[in-house]
């Protein structure tokens, strides 16, 4: 047997307790890159629903443009809403699925007994979720441009602000759900698929918040996405970029993000207390 030790390639750097290692973070990203590269079905699934949605609502838009002066004036209204909603949904779901892949493969124990810090792992999940958003929403955006002559980039620079806010909100909600999965196991898996839809009727994706009853509008005002979709309509209909909406969305996102991180860390600690980490997935 060859001498394992004599040809050692291992040299461990001195460990700092709270350092951040991009290498460890990249290891998790690499793991998901390998997974997607090996599974065309997963890649197809990422893009499938956004493309179907875009096709459906694209033709609806074509129909409505001939029927309604509002849609004639702002043709991208529905298409932009669909794409931005998908950014939010895919961001949250991407974070959930990246975590669930480890649970399904019963690999989470191996990862969490390695030197990766919980915050490095979470940062890696953010990157993977972003990758999933781009793979999922990118083809739908291209379809809108090719089939309906609508480019999401007509939103201009505000698009970046909308995109960032929705991605961060998706991360925050996804992180809290991942915490629940860690704490309650695969019984909480369906939360990853369902949770965000509770926001869909409230945050005014397709209609202004003004149509909501007053009490529900008060709830909508606590959701960052509501300000993004209102801001999107302001750009498309009134041709105005509402910085105030953006600022409120960003501030609320800080709160949501802190809440998501706190929920995940709380559940992580609870899982460590209850000995759930090595068992999860069974």
């Amino acid at each position: 047997m060859p001498d394992v030790i004599a040809h050692s390639t291992v040299a461990l750097p001195p460990e700092r307790e709270w350092g951040f290692s991009f290498r460890r973070m990249n290891a998790i990203v690499l793991r998901h890159f390998y997974l997607l590269r090996s599974s065309w079905a997963r890649v197809l699934e990422l893009a499938y629903w956004p493309v179907i949605n875009m096709t459906l609502w694209g033709f609806m838009t074509v129909f409505l443009v001939g029927q309604s002066s509002l849609f004639a004036q702002a043709t991208g209204l529905l298409l932009a809403a669909i794409l931005l909603w998908d950014v939010l949904f895919r961001s949250q779901l991407g974070l959930g699925l990246a975590f669930l892949e480890e649970v399904w493969s019963r690999n989470l124990g191996h990862i969490l007994v390695s030197p990766i810090r919980p915050y490095e792992y979470v940062a890696a999940l953010f990157v993977v979720a972003l990758m999933r958003v781009l793979i999922g929403v990118g083809p739908a955006a291209l379809l809108a441009w090719g089939l309906y002559d609508y480019s999401i980039f007509t939103l201009g620079l505000p698009l970046i602000a909308f995109f960032v806010n929705l991605v961060v909100l998706g991360w925050a909600i996804g992180l809290a759900i991942n915490g629940l999965i860690l704490r309650f196991g695969l019984g909480a898996e369906s939360m990853a698929w369902m949770a965000l839809f509770i926001l869909a009727p409230i945050c005014g994706i397709y209609y202004p918040l003004a149509v909501l009853p007053e009490w529900l509008r008060a709830v909508a005002y606590t959701i960052p996405a509501s300000y993004v979709f209102e801001g999107m309509r302001a750009v498309l209909i009134d041709k105005v970029f509402r910085v105030d909406y953006l600022a409120i969305a960003a501030l609320l996102n800080v709160v949501y993000f802190a809440g998501g991180v706190a929920a995940f860390l709380y559940c992580f600690k609870a899982a460590r207390r209850r000995g759930l980490i090595l068992q999860i997935g069974e």
Partner: protein, 257 residues
């Protein structure tokens, strides 16, 4: 490369460790030390507290009370100082099935900060005879091949401390013997320390220089295999295990320090 942990101090030290889940006590005032460079076995039946103890030493389970030091580091407070020098293997914690063995090893080499991962993986592939299947998805491997892949993952950072949970469970005798021989050579060459949880008596008798007998979370006896056989007047560890499990010949035992 970090120097092997020697210096006379135990590689692992556990004092008055207790883990309760509500009314159930999984680990009950456990105190033991694992000498550096040894293979030590936690031997006990189902529910004896073996896996619980390993999980605490890996930092993924918080004890109710007590202390645990690994490589001189308080693992409960500073686990990230010790984890790069440790690793873990268990047939119950798997590697992602869709990834090839090489891809899995690359991911873990990065996680453990291995400086030249490709060379390290090539060396492991040669040593563990994985050449013919290293490019295959892990989920398509036979049980023996999976075990070698898992072992490669556990050794990717050349750990000074290796915690193994039933390392040869569900393996045929030939593969099991091969794994045991490899681990013995690894300890001898690397001056590493292995703490393994097992209820395979033959494995423990062959490999372990120190046996810690657990029952219902308590350390009920300890010693070399020979010492235990002599103490209980038995021919093999399985008989000793049954004596302890069934509370036989308790009168002959001395209290465990």
């Amino acid at each position: 490369m970090s120097a092997p942990f020697t210096g006379g101090a135990p590689a692992i030290e556990v004092r008055h460790l207790v883990k309760r889940y509500g009314a159930v006590t999984a680990v009950d005032d456990l105190t033991f030390a694992v000498p550096a460079g040894s293979i030590t076995a936690l031997l006990g039946g189902n529910g004896a507290g073996k896996t619980t103890t390993l999980a605490i030493l890996l930092g993924v389970l918080l004890p109710t009370s007590g202390q645990a030091r690994v490589l001189g580091v308080d693992i409960l407070k500073h686990r990230f100082r010790a984890l790069p020098r440790m690793n873990f293997g268990s047939p119950y914690v798997e590697l992602p099935k869709r990834l090839s063995v090489r891809e899995n090893l690359m991911v873990f080499a990065q996680l453990y900060g291995v400086r030249h991962p490709k060379q390290r993986i090539d060396a492991l592939a040669e040593t563990l005879q994985m050449g013919e299947f290293i490019g295959r998805p892990t989920g398509t491997l036979s049980a023996g091949q999976k075990t070698r892949a898992s072992l490669a993952k556990a050794l990717v950072n050349e750990p000074e401390i290796l915690l193994l949970d039933e390392p040869t469970a569900s393996l045929d005798p030939d593969t099991g013997d091969w794994v045991r021989a490899y681990l013995e050579r690894y300890v001898a060459e690397r001056k590493a320390t292995i703490l393994l949880a097992s209820h395979n008596m033959g494995e423990v008798e062959r490999m372990a220089s120190l046996v810690l007998m657990l029952k219902a979370g308590k350390l009920v006896d300890r010693g070399t295999a020979e010492e235990l056989l002599q103490k209980y007047g038995r021919q093999n560890l399985e008989e000793v295990f049954l004596d302890i499990a069934r509370d036989r010949r308790r009168a002959e035992k001395e209290p465990v320090a």
